[in-house]
Point group: C2
Chain length 331, copies 2
Amino acid sequence: MTLVARPQGMPRESDFALEEGPVGEPGPGEVLVRSLWVSLDPYQRGRMSEARSYAASLQLGDTITSQAVGEVVESGDRRFEPGDLVLGQLGLQEHAVIRAGSLRPVPGWLDPPSLALHAVGMTGLTAYFGLFDVCRPLPGDTVVVSAAHGAVGQVVGQLAKLAGCRTVGIAGGPEKVRELKELYRYDEAIDYKSENVGAALKEAAPGGVDVYFDNVGGEITIAVARRLAVGARIAVCGQISQYNLEREGPAMPGGYTFLIVARARMQGFLVTDYAHRYDEALPRLAGWVADGSIRWREDVVDGLENAPRAFIGLMKGENRGKLLVKVADRS
Amino acid sequence: MTLVARPQGMPRESDFALEEGPVGEPGPGEVLVRSLWVSLDPYQRGRMSEARSYAASLQLGDTITSQAVGEVVESGDRRFEPGDLVLGQLGLQEHAVIRAGSLRPVPGWLDPPSLALHAVGMTGLTAYFGLFDVCRPLPGDTVVVSAAHGAVGQVVGQLAKLAGCRTVGIAGGPEKVRELKELYRYDEAIDYKSENVGAALKEAAPGGVDVYFDNVGGEITIAVARRLAVGARIAVCGQISQYNLEREGPAMPGGYTFLIVARARMQGFLVTDYAHRYDEALPRLAGWVADGSIRWREDVVDGLENAPRAFIGLMKGENRGKLLVKVADRS
């Protein structure tokens, strides 16, 4: 799947094209991998623009970069042999030849192996470091999460519960909001599509918001900013409400005065800055998934040809769980 | 000086009134103080509004609260005697009866004693804790300061030089910009009234902005946010560009995405949260003033009756140094 046009505002299916090409041969130190599940994530939108972002821009004609779980077909490196399951930046394509050193083995006990793309992978790690390292939650803190039903948000809420916090999830639509409480154990859930978020927060967090894990920005963040408790910490993980705007988003009334009023800290982070600590977090995440402390949900789309439509749906919040593209069955 | 109308947007002189009243008698534990210098500061604007802020709202008819240096006239407490110089929340008035426990003595060696209202007082402390505690500057950091010519900004730049940083000051008008370099030792100075701040920053901080001490918010902060270096720290000290707006201010393009791009931390603070550390900072500030490491400038207005006009000028950036009202001479 390649980028053939830079999206202006919301991406369209015609911005992408599926092209046939030869399957490469792995050289020494390289591995030929067949993709099984490919991950779709909001950060990929940033790469489709030319503007400076935290991810390098794609050029037109480039394969869309993506993390994937695949199966080794042919190996030019003694660390891997055919049939091994691996995690790597395979891109949105059926086969990739890739440096062996850039791949991580997917442990055989991880069931399903696609967990390596979410709860026991990138989105779980994002939740873990964003919450524990950036926000440093204390027992009794009220933790508010936007896009709480998303792949990151669902884990944040459950980690915050493990840390003894009270959790308030914000999502769009009655089905998601019901699942926030029933599936992901949020104490309170707010439907931003049908409720006034400010008024709902006043009720759900009467003592104010101690921690805000922000995946969306925009109007929801403006509403949360008015309800911060003194000493609040905000992790800026994503700003999906802003990625597809063609005009300016809403202004925060008073600028950053809200940070003074609450003596609050707001911090952006990238999970990749914590790469040196993945080995600390992954076994913990795996343990919590295994013992049921972290519940998860996948939204699996079949076939690369359906990836563009699914990605556009992700931008609109239509996915129900971690969005994956199933490319092939395990051999 | 009392508040007789809540300002809508920019305050007007008619929002204030000077009223005559009886001079009180100090009871036990109280002191009658005659004001000598009264401080005018941007935070006072917040108290004039009803909106939630970091300072409690004034009611109509209340005396404008203010820090002042005064002289004890009559004392009902053994800690003070007539003639002592004291620092306290005397308000914009000639005499105040005040609890002795709320006053701090002004040391006899502080020359002039009005320094206790700025470089060796509130604004110096604000610079000290905002820079050293919130921003934690490292040698070689590029430190950008908005309202760099103001009472806080002038100290921030000089403290950052002491810490081995490169400093870039932003102020309005050629005279202030000249003084930023010649008087306050800024390495670079940008005139936001005549220059494109973004382009000027690109030149003045080619490696990006490591520390931003923000006193203003608005368009200047939007320009700085685009130039942050990875790991940048922003202290939100004030947002004066926002205090007198009648409509919404400008929106930050992309919302808080700039914090993700730079993995930056943005933190609001109030100097009063550091009250337990004033005794750490004040002797250091006094020492740096005494040895010439911190240069300072006062803009002294004569007579309480001129305070409203001076305060409005402060809101517009017309002051040249720490704005004080001289109420009386020392007896």
